[in-house]
Symmetry: C2
Subunit: 328 residues, 2 copies
């Protein structure tokens, strides 16, 4: 009996989930739900239905875990609590500041339905959060640092594209090596925003556009670029497609701290990711946690969970005995 998965929303993340399910032999994809006309959506798994989002309740008894693949800005705040009324749900809600509010809404819906839900699963929030938690509990007297990249920031790329005269663009967030080294030394440096990351932009401009103005507008854009050393490269659409079509990302969570009666010993804990595809890796994390949600629900748990609440063994298809014998 496989774990029956539904995918709600079929963009990059939804396609990543579809692909990840094939790597987990205890799971099967049952249906993909879309707000588009289902006949126009072509998926990669033969024999799996594409259904309209409005018809999702018809699948109530056919799906063990529904994985939500919409955006955090407007989709998930509505969809996750709504679907939690009828399904075991997992989402990757990533607006850090609004997590408590989202948690409350989803928790209420899941508890009323007697079901389990998981929010904010991915790598940040997600695996990075877990590493901040573990490291902070092990070294209570210390300092946390999170660096992102090298990778594509969707939000910053979108911001570039909104500038007048810009046809397309891609933005890379890049951690600064000297800052990483200072943190790894255990010196617990105080680092400004500018000292931690640089931003590099590849921009395709309209013919005849004022390149100086575009570059200035990017570099001076508040919140997005003004606090960073930013480099702007103007390239052709051909070059953008050839060299910048991937969605790589990654980053580092580092904690250094002291132990000893006189705090004489320094320790550095580092977790890092180097990802060819941000959405596929996020999907792989979500898929593992979907298994945990399924197991928890079968044990009778209810309500909303985060990565902090899940015993790590629940992510695995192996038994507790196998894990102790081979991985501990």
């Amino acid at each position: 009996m496989k774990i029956r998965i539904g995918i709600f929303g079929y963009g990059n993340l939804g396609r990543g989930i579809e692909s990840a399910i094939r790597q987990n032999s205890d799971m099967e994809l049952v249906a993909v739900f879309t707000r588009r006309d289902p006949s126009t959506v072509k998926i990669s798994t033969e024999g799996v239905e594409v259904a309209h989002a409005d018809d999702v309740l018809n699948y109530k008894d056919k799906i063990d875990v529904m994985i939500l693949c919409g955006g955090s800005a407007t989709d998930l705040p509505v969809q996750t609590p709504e679907l939690a009324k009828n399904f075991t749900v997992v989402d990757s809600f990533d607006t850090h500041a609004k997590i408590p509010e989202h948690f409350e809404n989803v928790d209420k819906a899941s508890k009323e339905a007697g079901k389990v839900s998981m929010i904010s699963v991915g790598w940040d929030p997600g695996m990075f959060s877990l590493n901040r938690l573990y490291a902070g509990c092990i070294l209570p007297e210390g300092q946390d640092y999170t660096f992102w990249g090298k990778g594509v920031s969707q939000g910053h790329s979108d911001a570039i594209r909104r500038i007048d005269g810009v046809l397309d663009g891609k933005q890379y967030t890049i951690p600064i090596d000297s800052a990483l080294e200072a943190v790894r030394s255990g010196a617990e440096p105080t680092l400004t925003t500018r000292e931690k990351h640089t931003r590099e932009c590849f921009v395709v401009a309209e013919e005849g556009a004022d390149l100086e103005r575009i570059e200035r507008e990017i570099k001076e854009m508040p919140n997005y670029f003004a606090d960073y050393d930013t480099t702007v490269h103007f390239i052709s659409m051909e070059e953008l497609k050839r060299d910048h079509s991937g969605i790589p990302h990654g980053g580092f969570v580092i904690r250094s701290g002291k132990t000893g009666l006189n705090k004489e010993n320094t320790h550095v804990i580092e977790y890092s990711l180097k990802l060819d595809s941000n959405p596929e890796f996020t999907a792989s994390v979500i898929t593992a946690f979907a298994r945990a949600a399924y197991k928890l629900e079968r044990e009778g748990a209810t309500g909303c969970k985060t990565v902090f609440d899940i015993p790590p063994a629940y992510l695995s298809a192996q038994s507790a005995e196998e894990l102790r014998a081979h991985l501990l």
Copy 2:
């Protein structure tokens, strides 16, 4: 109401626990137990009793969690199941091959007592195991690599000291950079024992000893050194004490794996530790998990647990709300 901790065995690890408790304001040290004459054992915390190991049952109602700080070879296989009959216990049993047997013994004792126990807590087994588990669940198609060092191996240092003509010695296990880089590239190389680590020995010989013979005996020692490229340096006792009295360690757990419909994307997950003091860091991990054992027991759980079974939030003194708001 603080969590009342007992320390059973007062060597390097026991002293590390004593020091770690001071960094966790929700805990207090109640007593240290020793097999030596208690009047000869001087501890660093004022007002805390040193008692004889034989009197431990007198403390049954005064201690919430007993942390065992003996060795895995002969102490813990006997002590942990025995103490589990009357206490919530945590140990750092690290003989990987014997974990299933140790688990069974401790689990049985804890269940009969209606108490919780935790075994094999530390960094390997422990945090490294957790990272192998998480990474393997996220990237099911991939390869795991564990490297140790640069650090002091107690077992290998002991082996050197047993050689005729050797007064003292210290052995460092050193991961080979080119192997680390090959693994980080995502190439999933097949590495021999010799290709992963080198061993460096600092040896103090008796005056007039046959240095060539000692060096040969070290380098040809089966299991310990024969499969490695080993370097031997003869130094004075003064140099050994001055330059090699620390107990640093660390290492790397790296998994690379593929995702995508055609396995076209590679991802690398890396966890690393750089530790000034191996026993103090191990003690810091154990102390955080002692909190989890305490919480689990108050919820009514019983039986033996490992790091795989513990929801990460249980390690923290913060509430679930605080963790979601600040760390997720």
